[in-house]
Symmetry: C2
Subunit: 244 residues, 2 copies
DNA sequence: CGTTGATTTGAGTAAGATCAAGTCGGGTGG
DNA sequence: CCACCCGACTTGATCTTACTCAAATCAACG
């Protein structure tokens, strides 16, 4: 665990799309920061059932939040991108019922979980932001549940690709019409409640229709509106989000 | 909209399972309360896409929170029971992307949404509780997503029955080994991502195995541990929850 | 090279959807 | 009282989507 960049210089915070924070709040946040941490690709950030005394913000890299059944079936609940909070989800102070695993190498900004309470007391606006983030995460889950419960395989895949493209672009990962895409087809399967084989065939169908391109770890969308139409997906304009 | 019971006398608040609130916090809450409201069975509490300036707590009755696709397919995100908050989910101040509908007659306690900010500023402990509730809801969604994504039909139905039984019992709805169960099989289908016909056959299978009984609107569980085993479901002990 | 993980392809199958009736019970109006 | 209607629940038959199993390909890497 190293000290890392001070919050005032955090490169993420500069990005459009993140709500600017005023000087005192930033200072308070800095005071709570416990350092930075790097987890290698494939490494565990949180283990299912194990309590962590830390709370993290993803600074860079991709991670997955998942739950699994005793027999090994696994469901990915969400993909974590830079700016996302790790560890808020599981019942504020209790053991999380989910694991978090790095997909690529992940850089994290760590806070002491016990300082949560200080945030609420000392900086109500940060407490509000925290709740905003929780409500936002819930909205992502709603969308995922709708997909898995009611969309067909091709709709689900189209949906998740549009959605991840937008999220990645929103945190500045877009480069000439592509975003990095480190997920394997097995990840997509576990994310959308499908088998890996079926994901493969579905991706082929989308490629054949020229809707997407997927080359050396990057994703490009051929025809956004057509892809959205396939997914029956109309996203709401993204509000500026807080960053802790 | 009537004035209703003062928060200090709220019958829900007496129940074991709800965290007691101290005098000043209770008074603050009372000050924000805008009255009570009754919605008939089948009535809309929130419409998809429509902004509401209110925030509600369910006092009695059952409701569903759902999203739907343009072609009419519907996914229920959660069942709302007494003590649950309505309207926190959708991006704190923005239009909710979901609807909420009464299943039975529902009695609601209303707050002005604009007072959310006052809560955080004036009563950090209430702000914390709010976040706790959001994190808790997220946990419910996690469980639902795992079910719909990775559990078989019989596992899903077993799971949801165990889960709803516990939740209903936790808010005092249990009477000699049964809880009220106002959901139709179509509700269960929309909740678990199945067709109504298949829900019917699956319920029959559970009944044949003596695991559940479902009579005149009440649910009884024949063999809890067996039902849990079917569902591959091990729930964590319920912590005391806050009530707003 | 041999190994390892990801992707691809093919063949057979099963879980659950869809379609179509039909039943049951509780109102409602004549 | 009875005919009717409506919604929820049942049942049977058929069909489709997506799963499973198995094996081949491919690229990266030591």
């Amino acid at each position: 665990m190293e000290t890392g960049t001070p919050c005032t210089l955090c490169p993420l915070r500069r990005r459009r799309g993140f709500k600017p924070l005023d000087e005192p709040a930033l200072a308070a946040l800095q005071a709570l920061k416990r350092g930075e941490m790097t987890v290698p690709a494939g490494g565990a950030i949180l283990s299912e059932g194990e309590t962590s005394c830390r709370l993290y913000t993803v600074l860079s890299g991709w991670a997955i939040r998942y739950k699994s059944l005793p027999d090994g079936r696994r469901q990915i609940m969400n993909i974590l991108l830079p700016g996302d909070l790790v560890g808020l989800q599981g019942e504020l102070m209790a053991a999380p019922a989910h694991g978090v695993e790095a997909v690529t190498e992940v850089r994290l900004c760590a806070f002491a979980r016990s300082s949560l309470w200080d945030i609420f007391r000392g900086h109500p606006e940060l407490g509000y932001d925290l709740t905003w983030l929780a409500a936002h995460e819930e909205r992502l889950l709603d969308e995922a549940l709708l997909s898995v419960g009611r969309r067909s395989a091709i709709e689900r895949i189209a949906m998740v690709l549009v959605h991840l493209y937008r999220r990645a672009a929103a945190v500045g990962l877009e480069r000439d019409g592509t975003v990095p895409f480190p997920l394997t087809q097995t990840h997509l399967a576990d994310l959308m409640g499908l088998s890996p084989v079926h994901v493969n065939r579905t991706l082929q169908a989308l490629r054949k229709r020229q809707l997407i391109r997927l080359h050396d770890g990057r994703l490009a969308i051929g025809d956004l509106s057509a892809l959205r139409r396939v997914a029956e997906y109309w996203e709401q304009p993204a509000a500026q989000r807080p960053l802790l």
